[in-house]
Amino acid sequence: ACSSGSDDNAEGDGGSDDGTEEGTDEGEGGSEDGIYSIDDFPAAKTDAGEAIDGGTLNYGLVNSSVFEGILNWNFYQGNPDAHVIQFFDESLLSADENFTYTQDGAATFETSEDNRTFTFTIGDNVNWHDGEPVTAEDWLYSYEIIGHPDYTGIRYDASFRNIEGMDEYHSGDADTISGIEVIDDKTLEISYKEAWPSLLAGGIWAYATPKHIFEDIPIAEMEESAEVRQNPIGMGPFKVESVVPGESVTYTANEDYWKGAPKLDGVTLTVVSPETVVQALESGEIDIAGGGFPTDQYPDVEESLTNVEFLGVIDNAYTYIGFKLGHWDADSSEVVTDPDAKMADVELRRAMWHAVDNNAVGERFYNGLRWNATTLIGPAYPDFYNDEVEAPTYDPDEANRILDEAGYEDVDGDGIRENPDGEELVINFASMEGGDTAEPIANYYIQAWEAVGLKVELLDGRLHEFNAFYDRVEADDPDIDIYQAAWSTGSDVDPSGLYGKEAPFNYSRYSSEENDRLIAEGNSEESFEVEHRQEVYKEWQELMVQDIPVFPTVYRAALTPVNERVTGYSAALDWSEWQEVGVTQEDPVLPE
């Protein structure tokens, strides 16, 4: 599986605190000038002019509810918390645009021959906010917390289990983790059981924990401690000054920051709801709307928000239609594909892909800020994205042709195709609530399929609430034949967590030997060679377009509005240079 840690927590789409899905409307629907493209947006904002000395930045965290306030990388669960933490604490390793570790971070690393042992060296000038140096002990301590039997969070996963001696430590049989060794104050060595290329793509837990602060707190109680909630410290560019639980945080500059003192005096982070974020931007109440500006509001405010520049990046997420092809076998913990499933015929699936016009969906519902998707590794991973894949395109005639050929014909003349055995074919479609567009989109798909003679019905005649939806999808509810969902794909391209035979998240329950092979290959030792890995994943992407266990519908853009006075800021997913951010004037720029 992938590991997380950067600010791009990956969460099921339509999650209840997900602002990005909500509402889409536009003024001049239908006219060409109402359509935008991600290419029109810069990713960074650097040209605002000379930054003044100091100044305070108001960061709006767009979220429809409060942030939970678990302000520690080891323990946080929700995406909003990650936004809060990013200002005061950061990963010791930095990553490039493909989320692969580089040597520019607070720590550098060396890899052994067999790619199984990593030696990390923490920079000398890397200190905690209280002046204590960040040590190898501190880093180790993170592992000791997460691996501990009393640990209350959810970070313990395969990449931890892959560490030598972690299992023994986790089960309580060992007091220390044999695979992690503190060489000296600033040097740490971690030995893995297997060498995985994923490790280098965000697979290493690179967050240190100030041991001198947490030492005396039992691990089971850390989550609740004031050190996590009220006055957390980190090694990042800003220090936490005060926290209003759930609502706001104020930060002051960390003059001692290892990349140099920040340009700003401080940052104020406030939660703004997606409903009011535009007004907050307009009034200058916030300078940056991070965490998911509702893109559907963009066409309406583009003209009026003259004091704001919109930055845009391609989000590492896609929406898809899934076909239920089998079930999950809990005993063996793997997917069992059923050749007799209603959707088992790949031609049927291919025809359904041809039948829908995803570009129209993107243009009409999202003004072009979502667009037709082709493969399951999206353009957010430029090195791995296979733009040559020949994915089915919108072509109802082709769909009809395929269906006719595959024997789905309208036997009884009611305009609805029967299955090859001449039996009635009704496909049950499950979709989630989430924002205004969810329902019309679901209906659009149903209509589009009906247009090629397929009878698709919305499960229970309604959209399902997030929890109910996943409850049923996860349980392989026989009433669900197809479903619409979305994935945010995290920092690692490895698709095993979503499409592997042993992945519970493989909701379509698709498996094939080829798939197993490619997925294993992609994360094997050979794949430390990037070119090899690219090849493997390109092949896998082709396979997915052939087998169509799911088909991606749209990719999406993530917009971040930024006040004109802000400089040095970037919306890129891998960016973390807060010390460079400054403002060009004391007060926010207001609309003319």
């Binding site: 599986a1 997380s4 306030g69 209350t152 005060s242 609502e247 406030t270 709801s273 996943y470 979503l498």
Partner: protein, 320 residues
């Protein structure tokens, strides 16, 4: 009196127990649990399952219930699954806000209701009364949420007189005067919004109460004593009509609870109502259950309070 209160409190106990069971079963029947929201490829499902086991979410409901009740009996309402902190502490934070909002609402309710009710009752069927009655009609007909949206837009955004979200300005030091002033300031617009809508029932009640009292025989007695109009109103009519309003106070709590849900949502005001809505959608049942229990208890206490107030102010009602 004390016996009465004790008796009422004793009756409350089985009610709360049943309420807690209902609430608990409802929670169990909802699809998903606190962790089913973690549909995240970067989180190992095994870790989630482990946590689920640790939180006892896999136990049968009655065992969970017994654990939960056992905790409550020791003053421990459990942990919030989502916030990872004790429910008591979490609700405590939010309660301050909701209580503040309620107090502001109540103050405005009475500030508006009393003069309007008194005027409209005393001068019934005059133009002024018709204006006030018209207001109450419209108030009754206007759903609170539409009105609040409207208020937020006018006074929060367009005029910018009030903060548009949150319960306190960021960075204010807790405990300082500025902090509390900021809190009150944040509660003002939502509070007034509820008050303006909610007040209408009190106004109407007061009005009809006054019109009623005006026709009572003892008013004629007072007039026959030679009491002037002003005195008749002040000493007899208003006083007697206000008593039931005083007793309303307890019931007001009930309506407040409902009202704050809408308003907290619209004003993104982090109070208990909003917390409840989120707890339901996020299946943070320890919080949701505790809140329902709390609201239920508040409702019981409100009713009790009403009865007690009434028995204090009305000599005819003697509680034994």
């Amino acid at each position: 009196m004390w016996k009465f209160i004790v008796r009422r409190l004793l009756i409350t106990i089985p009610q709360i127990i049943i309420l807690s069971i209902i609430v608990f079963i409802l929670a169990q029947m909802m699809p998903g649990d606190a962790l089913s929201g973690l549909i995240d490829p970067s989180i190992d499902p095994a870790a989630v399952e482990q946590q689920r086991e640790r939180l006892g979410l896999n136990n049968p409901w009655y065992i969970q219930y017994v654990d939960w009740v056992g905790g409550i009996l020791q003053g421990d309402f459990g942990q919030s699954f989502r916030f990872k902190m004790p429910v008591t502490e979490l609700i405590g934070q939010r309660m301050v806000n909701t209580v503040l909002l309620s107090v502001v609402t109540l103050i405005f309710t009475y500030l508006i209701a009393l003069p309007l009710g008194l005027i409209s009752g005393r001068f019934n069927d005059t133009l002024l009364d018709q204006a006030i009655t018209g207001y109450t009609y419209i108030g009754f007909a206007t759903p609170l949420f539409i009105f609040s949206l409207f208020m937020l837009w006018i006074f929060g955004y367009n005029l910018g007189w009030f903060p548009t979200s949150g319960s306190v300005a960021p960075g204010t030091e807790p405990g300082t005067i500025a902090y509390w002033l900021s809190k009150v300031y944040h509660a003002l617009l939502p509070g007034i919004s509820i008050a303006l809508i909610q007040v209408v029932s009190t106004v109407q009640y007061l009005r009809s109460e006054i019109i009623d009292t005006k026709q009572k025989d003892f008013i004629i007695t007072a007039r026959a004593k030679g009491a002037g109009e002003q005195r008749v109103y002040n000493k007899h009519i208003f006083r007697n009509s206000l008593l039931p309003i005083a007793a309303f106070f307890g019931w007001e709590i009930t309506t407040l609870i409902t009202g704050t849900v809408f308003v907290e949502k619209i004003f993104s005001y982090p109070g208990m109502g909003l917390l409840f809505l989120e707890s339901i959608t996020q299946r943070d049942f320890s919080v949701a259950n505790s809140l329902v229990l709390l609201f239920g208890t508040a409702q019981i206490m409100g009713a009790l309070l009403s009865d007690i107030i009434l028995s204090i102010v009305d000599p005819r009602i003697r509680i034994k």
